[in-house]
Each structure stands twice: as C-alpha cells, then as structure tokens.
C-alpha cells in the first residue's frame, strides 16, 4: 500500500428513488447484517437521490444491498480530524483551497474521534499530501473499517 493508501476510505453510495421508504429499506438491510453506519448523508437531485454512507463493513454492505437489487458503488473519500472549536473547518478548507484542491462534496460528524470531516475531492493524493504536511490530522481507514 502506498503512503497515501491507508488514508483512503471506502464510502458506499446507493442510488435511491425520491419516495417514502427508500432510506428505511437501506437502513433495514444494514441492520440485518449488523453493519454500523458511522456517518451518512443524502444528496438529492430531481426525482432521485444518492445515499452516501461511511460504514464499518463496506464490503458486506455492498454485497447485501446489491443482493437486494440496489445500485451500489464504492467511492474513495478521506477523513480529517477537525478542532471542535470555531475556525476548525476553516483551517482544513483553507489548506485545500490554497492547494487548489476542489471539494466535490463533504459531510461531518462529531464522535469519539472528535469532530471529523469526510471529504470527496478531485485530487485525493494531493489532498492527503497537503493535509498531512500542514499540521492537520488524517484518520486512517482502519479507524472506521
């Protein structure tokens, strides 16, 4: 594994129609396999959405959801620890902005690792290099999965 490889986290993305009960169906499937959802969000477009989730067993989640007929894809994201104080997000966003790395989307949660920012960027290698050389902390995938 390359230097950056251990920071790459497998996020699952699930295509979902925009109608009642779809999220429940996904969540129920994960529960049945005892898969824990660490963070998730729903991106909504016209008539459909994509549910993006960070889970503890992405391979198993992929298998289960695909078996139920869902469209599932893996996407690589990175996780950065933020200082849980005003300006915490700014520090990370500035590093990436100054380094000309574009954030495609991002979501955050606050858990036992502190405040964590999940990022999908256009240049992951570059993002990892910038963040780790400029004093911020990346979380390894092993923390989650």
């Amino acid at each position: 594994m390359s230097q950056t490889g251990r920071y790459l986290i497998q996020q699952i993305s699930v295509f979902s129609e925009n109608r009642p009960g779809r999220l429940a169906a996904i969540a129920k499937a994960l529960q049945e396999e005892e898969i824990n959802i660490l963070a998730f969000f729903i991106a909504e477009a016209d008539g459909f959405g994509v549910v993006r989730a960070l889970v503890d067993k992405p391979g198993k989640a992929h298998e289960k959801l695909t078996g139920l007929g869902f469209n599932v894809a893996f996407t690589q994201v990175i996780a950065v620890r933020m200082r849980d104080v005003p300006g915490g997000l700014y520090e990370i966003a500035k590093i990436l902005g100054d380094g000309k790395v574009n954030i495609e989307y991002s979501y955050a949660y606050s858990g036992k690792e502190g405040a964590v920012l999940i990022l999908r960027v256009d240049n992951t290698e570059q993002a990892i290099r910038l963040i780790s050389t400029q004093g911020a902390t990346l979380l390894e995938s092993a923390v989650f999965q």
């Binding site: 129609e17 008539g47 459909f48 994509v50 007929g69 869902f70 469209n71 599932v72 894809a73 999908r120």
Partner: protein
C-alpha cells in the same frame, strides 16, 4: 356556400357506389401491374384483379398495416416515379424508422379538395380567418389545412404551433374566426388567454374550432363549446391517407368520408368480420385515387363506428364518429403519434439505462405530459450526481429526437419497474379526456 362540390357531395348513393366500384377496379389493376408489393400480396392472397366483380369484393384484398410502410422504408411502396413526386411528408413510425409519404400533384389536389369540401361543410368560407395552429413542416396538419382553406377563399393565418401569447394577440388583432389545432391545445390557449386577461368568448371573434389529431370526448367537446363560446368540429386523417382529410359538417354528427376518395370498412378487430352501422370496430380505409403511395384496406388502428344514412345536411357520403380508442398501444401526445416500441428502440442504444421502461401520461393543465421511467444500469451508476443528471438528459434528448415530442425522464432503481411475461403493459394513461 352550402356545398363545395354538390355534384359529388350530394351524388345519389347508387351512383356513388358505382363510382367507387369503377375507381376500385382501376386501382387494383394498376397496382397489380405496377406495384411489386401489391402484386406479390395479391398473388400470395390468391386474388386477381378479375376477382373484383362488386364493391363488396374489396374484402378479398389483403390488408395493409403500418409495419408494411416501415419494412419498405423510405419509398419502396411508391408507385409513381420520382419525377412525378411534388412533396414529401414524414411522420413517426412504430420503431426508429419514420413513415414517408410521397405526393403527386394529383394527390395534393385531392387532399386539398377533400378539405375544401369539409371546411365548407362546417360553414367556413370567404371572409373567415382561419388560424392554422397545427405544426407546419414534415407534419401534415399545418400545410393540409393551409391549402384547403386557401382553396375556398378563406384567409389563412399560419401561426403553426407554440408561442401561445402571440397566437392570442394575433387572434384578436387579425380577427380570427376559426382555428385549426388539437382540442387540448385550444383548451390550453383558453387558459393562457385568461391569464392574459383575455376572454376568447368575449374578446375575440372566434366562432369555430376544427379540432383533431388526437382522441377527444363528448365531454371535452362540450367544455370547449360552452367555455369558449364556439362550435367544435372534428377533423380526421393520418399522413398515410395524405393528412387531415375529413371534417364534420354543421350537423356535428361524425365526419363525412368522401366516397370518391376513400372507401371505409369497420371490422371486428379480432375476426376481421365486417360490422354494420353503429357498431364499434376497427376503421379500415382504402384510398381510391391515391397515386404515389396507394393504400388498400389500410388498418390505421383506430376504433370507431359509422353511420350510413343520408345526412340531414344533404350529403350522401357516410359519416364516421369521433375516434374512441386504438387497437394497439399507440399514444397520441400533443397530436403526435407515439408508439411504445419507438421508446424501446431508442433505449436500446443507451447502455446506461436498462431495456425496461414505463410511460406515464397525464394532463398538466390542458396539455399532455409524458414521463418515461427508466432504470439506471448497475454498470453506469457512479456516486456522481452530475453523471446521473447527464444520463437523464441524454435519454430525454434521444427520446425527444426519436419521438418529436418533449419527454420527461425519471431515473428509477434497477428492478423496480414491472416485468412482463406476455404482452407488456408499459403505459399508464391518467388523462381524463
């Protein structure tokens, strides 16, 4: 003017049948001699022109269906040489291949004559301004009505479709007295006019609508007449017959089918047995004088009934009631024929979506709205919303180009659309006509 051509329109029934027989006989001999397609069909059906000894013997002749036009795309069924053609029109076919109709000068003259008679029969004439809000171009509606109305000396306002506000302004400024369009477009116009603060009933001189190119009901007719304060006349045709051809007279009790131009049968769609007056069945049309693209016993697929009695207007030609349905799954969306098979064919060329689909048709306001649901294939699903949006746009674009009508596309989960083992029922039609 009461009749455009009284000699024909009020011809005694017996003379009309003799004329029809003569025309049929000539047609059959001509096609047996000059059309490889009909020659082969007649031989395969074991019928020779000599076997046609009465008008009723038309039943010995083989049918023709839309598929025959597709299989012989673009012009293999034309009997006239290319030098004799003066026009083409093109309409949608059942799959990717459209239907091409060629016209000789004689064909255009008959088309125009047919409409001249029909327009006079519903009271149009000199001094009238006919706003033609059917599409001009490859579609037959616009140009057909245009020449028919000019022939009888009415003034034509060729607005074609769209830009409804401008249509309403022109209707007021140029004192439109009659409009030709689809019934749903006229209702839409009424709504747009109200939003502009214009009442078609009170603020325009509109007195009649010549409405067709889509199925409509008595309820819709009543609503149009009462709300807009006009008389609504049904007009019927398809590009294979030339275009819009036959129009209701002032009696408003079915459109007269001119017997010197066309011979109609109403058949049981299952057995092919002939049905009598008043019985609902499949309309089968033989065009008695068409030169470039002859049509013998053409099964258009429309369900209706006919009335054989002499009309109180004095015309002796049979009347056909407004179309009440289809024998196949063809849809008419904003006046355009749409076959689910066309959608199937178009989707085959788009690997990002599966071959399954569902069509949901509804009325948004007065206009048809068509939604096509397709499944995103597993291979093409990515996490990116923009990729999914691009797939949707791509499918919309392809369907619009194939069908010539705007379509909304909805992406659904794989496996979520119904699967069919027998005949697929892919259409949910929520329109209340």
């Amino acid at each position: 003017m009461k009749c455009w051509d009284p000699r024909i329109e009020e011809m005694p029934r017996e003379d009309l049948r003799k004329l029809q027989y003569r025309l049929l006989k000539t047609l059959v001999y001509r096609l047996y001699s000059f059309s490889p397609f009909y020659h082969e069909r007649m031989r395969a059906g074991g019928v020779h022109p000599d076997d046609i000894r009465t008008l009723g013997d038309i039943r010995k002749l083989p049918f023709m269906v839309k598929r025959d036009l597709r299989d012989n795309y673009p012009d293999k069924l034309f009997v006239s040489g290319p030098d004799d053609l003066v026009r083409y029109h093109v309409s949608s076919g059942t799959t990717g291949k459209p239907t091409v109709v060629g016209y000789t000068q004689h064909d255009l003259n008959n088309w125009t004559t047919s409409l001249a008679r029909g327009l006079v029969s519903c009271g149009l004439g000199r001094g009238d301004v006919l706003q033609v809000s059917y599409g001009y171009g490859l579609f037959t509606g616009g140009l057909g009505l245009h020449y028919g109305a000019e022939r009888i000396g009415a003034t034509v306002l060729p607005t074609s479709v769209g830009n409804t506000e401008r249509q309403i302004e022109l209707m007021q400024d140029l004192h439109t007295t009659a409009i030709a369009c689809t019934p749903s477009y006229l209702l839409h116009m009424g709504e747009v006019a109200e939003k502009m603060g214009v009442s078609i009933r009170d603020d325009t001189g509109l007195r009649m609508g010549i409405l067709g190119a889509e199925p409509w009901s008595d309820t819709m007719k009543k609503r149009i007449e009462e709300w807009l304060g006009i008389r609504a006349y049904d007009i019927y045709g398809t590009s294979e017959l030339s275009g819009p051809m036959f129009c209701e007279c002032t009696e408003q009790n079915g459109f007269h089918v001119w017997g010197d131009l066309a011979y109609i049968e109403i058949l049981d769609p299952e057995t092919g047995d002939p049905l009598g007056p008043g019985e609902k069945g499949e309309l089968v049309v033989t065009m008695l004088q068409k030169e470039a693209l002859p049509m013998i016993r053409y099964r258009i697929g429309d369900i209706t009934s006919y009335d054989d009695g002499v009309c109180s207007c004095g015309r002796t030609h049979p009347r056909v009631q407004r179309i009440s349905g289809r024998v196949d799954d063809m849809l008419i969306i904003r006046g355009i024929n749409v076959f689910p098979s066309q959608i199937e064919y178009a989707l085959m060329g788009i690997p990002q979506v599966g071959q399954h689909f569902q069509i949901i048709v509804d009325r948004k306001g007065a206009l048809d709205d068509m939604l096509v649901q397709v499944e995103v294939s597993r291979e093409s699903f990515s996490d990116k919303i923009t990729d999914l949006m691009a797939i949707r746009k791509g499918v919309e674009h392809k369907l619009r180009n194939t069908l010539n009508v705007a379509v909304n596309v909805e992406l659904v989960e794989p496996g979520s659309l119904p699967r069919f083992e027998g005949k697929a029922k892919r259409v949910i039609d929520r329109r209340k006509l």
